[in-house]
Subunit: 631 residues, 2 copies
Amino acid sequence: MTNFTKMTQFRPLPVSGVTLGGYLGERQDAICNSTAAVLLDRCVEVGMIDRIDVSVEAPLFHGHPATAEMFWDSDFGKSIETIAYSLYRRPNLELEARADRIIDLYEKLQQPDGYLNSWFQRVQPGKRWTNLRDTHELYCAGHLIEGAVAYYQATGKRKFLDIMCRYADYLAILFGRGPEQIRGYCGHEEIELALVKLARVTEERKYLDLAKYFIDERGQQPHFFDLEAQRTDRDPAVYEYNQSHQPVREQKKVVGHAVRAMYLYSGMADIATEFNDDSLTAALETLWDDLTTKQIYVTGGVGPAASNEGFTDHYDLPNDTAYAETCASVGLVFWASRMLGRGPNRRYADIMEQALYNGALPGLSIDGRTFFYDNPLESTGKHHRWNWHPCPCCPPNIARLVASIGSYMYAVAEDEIAVHLYGESVARLKLANGAEFELRQETNYPWEGAIAFTTRLARSARFSLSLRVPEWAEDATLSVNGTMVDLSAVVSDGYARIEREWADGDRVDLELPLELRPQYANPKIRQDAGRVALMRGPIVYCVEETDNGEDLNAIVLPRELPGAEAVVLEDLKDAVAIDLAVEREDAANWGKALYRQAPAERRPAKARFVPYHLWDNRAPGEMLVWMQSHK
Amino acid sequence: MTNFTKMTQFRPLPVSGVTLGGYLGERQDAICNSTAAVLLDRCVEVGMIDRIDVSVEAPLFHGHPATAEMFWDSDFGKSIETIAYSLYRRPNLELEARADRIIDLYEKLQQPDGYLNSWFQRVQPGKRWTNLRDTHELYCAGHLIEGAVAYYQATGKRKFLDIMCRYADYLAILFGRGPEQIRGYCGHEEIELALVKLARVTEERKYLDLAKYFIDERGQQPHFFDLEAQRTDRDPAVYEYNQSHQPVREQKKVVGHAVRAMYLYSGMADIATEFNDDSLTAALETLWDDLTTKQIYVTGGVGPAASNEGFTDHYDLPNDTAYAETCASVGLVFWASRMLGRGPNRRYADIMEQALYNGALPGLSIDGRTFFYDNPLESTGKHHRWNWHPCPCCPPNIARLVASIGSYMYAVAEDEIAVHLYGESVARLKLANGAEFELRQETNYPWEGAIAFTTRLARSARFSLSLRVPEWAEDATLSVNGTMVDLSAVVSDGYARIEREWADGDRVDLELPLELRPQYANPKIRQDAGRVALMRGPIVYCVEETDNGEDLNAIVLPRELPGAEAVVLEDLKDAVAIDLAVEREDAANWGKALYRQAPAERRPAKARFVPYHLWDNRAPGEMLVWMQSHK
């Protein structure tokens, strides 16, 4: 299946290269208008500024869980990253000034050797690098690096980038296989992908090499975490949890903490791309296969269990207790995006889109002010969005993803542009072959399936335009300047590749049929037995009590779905709901007995289905994705 | 619904009055031959003898959870109670000697004032009566009392009974509403029903009065546990947990810790019977209704949640995480039995039987040597019987119930005998009106529905024989000495009442049709939506992997159940299994995708159903009660 001969490397467009309209544009507006400031407000409320401000006495413990406090730096990193992306869309001097102040505090906090970690400088001084396994020390560095790269790119200000380069320079000396170096790596992966970003923006090879070292060293014997635990007299741990149970190239099953896994694989994919490392790619393809054919929710949520915030057994996908952390689906989008680095392939892009809309986007309320951390697929009415979370990792994570989503939509190679995701937008492109142009995408996707591309070029140019044809879009059609194209002739790996001399004003029309699609689960998923979910395009639907009354499990979907009616929901940013004729078990006339010999009577009913990612934005109540299916 | 005019009081037969054969007799053999000794062995292994032996230095903490150690006395109490009952069936000098030794140790441990509690005498001296809410202090007294009563009745030895009377005399002085008394009660109910037992055997009115005081005082304001917490500087607690949130007569919903609830209601029912207290009976009927129409598993398991070992919301009955503690169903049998004190009514007896066979009996392995604590209705293969449990309450509880089950089968009033449960047995009866006789029950129930009663009387006598006709036995037939009786004319509250002059050798034949019955759940139980369970007579069935292979959730039951075939399982004490034609979703040919647009193909298959209470007695694997139902 792998095409190891295809060495073309695709790079996402810079965030600044894409301007979004439409539905995703509205979600970005919510971040510019609310979320970006909300993130800082709530960081301040819990005392995070005092933590990094050396002029304030070190505020040891505020009653928040110490384990969450350990990674506060990462929340600042992700918040600044969010702010950075938001500034492209909406310049905001006040937000920028707030970010600058935080950066100034970090500058003062940084030690002469470059070290920078507010927990170990202010709460547990003297303990740095004593517990890489549990304390998120390099993880925090990684998020600060990502924030610094984004802030530099958005504002041109180098201060934060310089701070983090100094820290990274120190790390590059500290970690490695040399006799004086720490031969270790972080229990929570993140630094790997961050160093690749830093290398790309600084063109410093040593950051890439350090990232590769962290990837290569993970899980080697003698096990670093064994040695570390012996040194510091701690109990040993289960290494599946942080994916260090084996060298990464030998790993076949996606295990452990879901966010850690997604970040690791993202870093591996970056290194695979940068080093053309087929051994990493092969491992990643095995892991991708394992995740997507045995361990993923229909929503693109991953990591079913709260106990380890992660993976359990194959085909174990409980709905009401699904953990499916927002951050994990954000991480899956990262990974999928990076799997596209070696060429367009809908195997990755379809899942990227599914995880974006249904696994990650639920994490952000329609007003951008409240957040889901875990994402069950069934609720009895007790699961609601948070203002903030004791472990506040998800809010800035979904925010930075949405704020930068344009960069996930388009990627460019030497003489090719790939469109991975659809949505109203304008992309400004420059190919390595010199072609420079604007690609305008006009569409009401994901609510409607008509997508029109028009080119704007100063002078005509030869390149390929590769458009994803999702696996679900069986009867898609494509035309170029009004002439139908035979898709079967041009589709490879799920992308329609149109290679031609493009002129100004050329138009490509792609029509993706948005038929309502029942989704049945592999019979090995016991929790979905006898049940069906509904998708339309990339969107997973659910029923909510506010539309359908209580006892949602009494709804029975017919085998065929005639007369489905699309309804535009004005109170949900014009998202499309579906009204459908269903049957409903009659609880009202059931009688008093809890159990009886005759099944419930069923009567015809209407049910309204709304996009799962928009649930709990209106009146609270029950919610259900997997409904009873007529047999 | 309540018949407040029916004041007849029914008392269970003494355990010694019934000798069992058949299936329940075999279970009693397992207790005589294995369980009774196993209980003591394992008590000794964890250090319980050292705890009560004053000649050994007090062994403070063995690494077992302190909360379990706090109620070790209760486990001795229940173990001695089990031994006592087992001696009727099989005299065993060695077992009796071991019990006597424990009793001797308790005698030496008892303080001059009567106080007796190994935790507060040996582990936390000086703390007695400082935390009635959490420390099971009176609960332990209750179980020791029950053990003492049973041991006295079985052996005629008074020592243990005298010890516990001294303790109860002290309690009767200590607790009450007087100025010098503690106006409190126990956080874990048990002492109430134990004091009633003690009163009945000693004919001491003050024990009854003390039990009534504990019942009446519970939940009154100012709240005893509030005052106690203030005095001892502890945090307040949620009083639903121990059913002290309201005075008991005001309680409408079954809440909190399930075992506590069942024991409380049992005590209330005893007091209602002893004092003809209609206000208690009315409260109990409301609670019974709440439990049995909104909160009970089809197995008679109660208390779905592990977090509080108890009740949650109405209609919340998860199957794979069902707690449904063995002790709670044992407690439900206690409660149901006591609800029959004011007259036969199948409303109580049907549930008693259901909880006995399907909620309590699973707790004891077929060899009587291993135990279930919690009883899920679905297992992926990881749930197995324990040799012993950190909290060892269930093993002696199910053992003492089974060992004394004859006493739950028959009850007598002035001139009436009621048969609540069926099973091969001989009952020796003496009515208050002087009639003395033997009633022989010949049957292979619960595996076959033919039940024959024959009387053995020295001289003929007039009395009523009331036989339960379970609600599920729609086409039951009854004949007396070969003459058919019109059941509709003689059945009241679900009991066929035959009043006549009985002569030696009279024969009554009751035929209960054991049709396989599909059971559907109220649509408000979301976890059972689209699913069906199977019962036959009082027995709930399940499928196990050892008979049916993996992926049990792929089994789809047809709407009609033709061709069901009963199979006698020799390796499971001749229990009856059912072979049935079903459909099965094809997981093998599903393909690679985790989700797809077409449901799984279904093919005809055979499935074997075994009694749920016998699961995990053979090869380990998946188990399932609620199966997919054809719609």
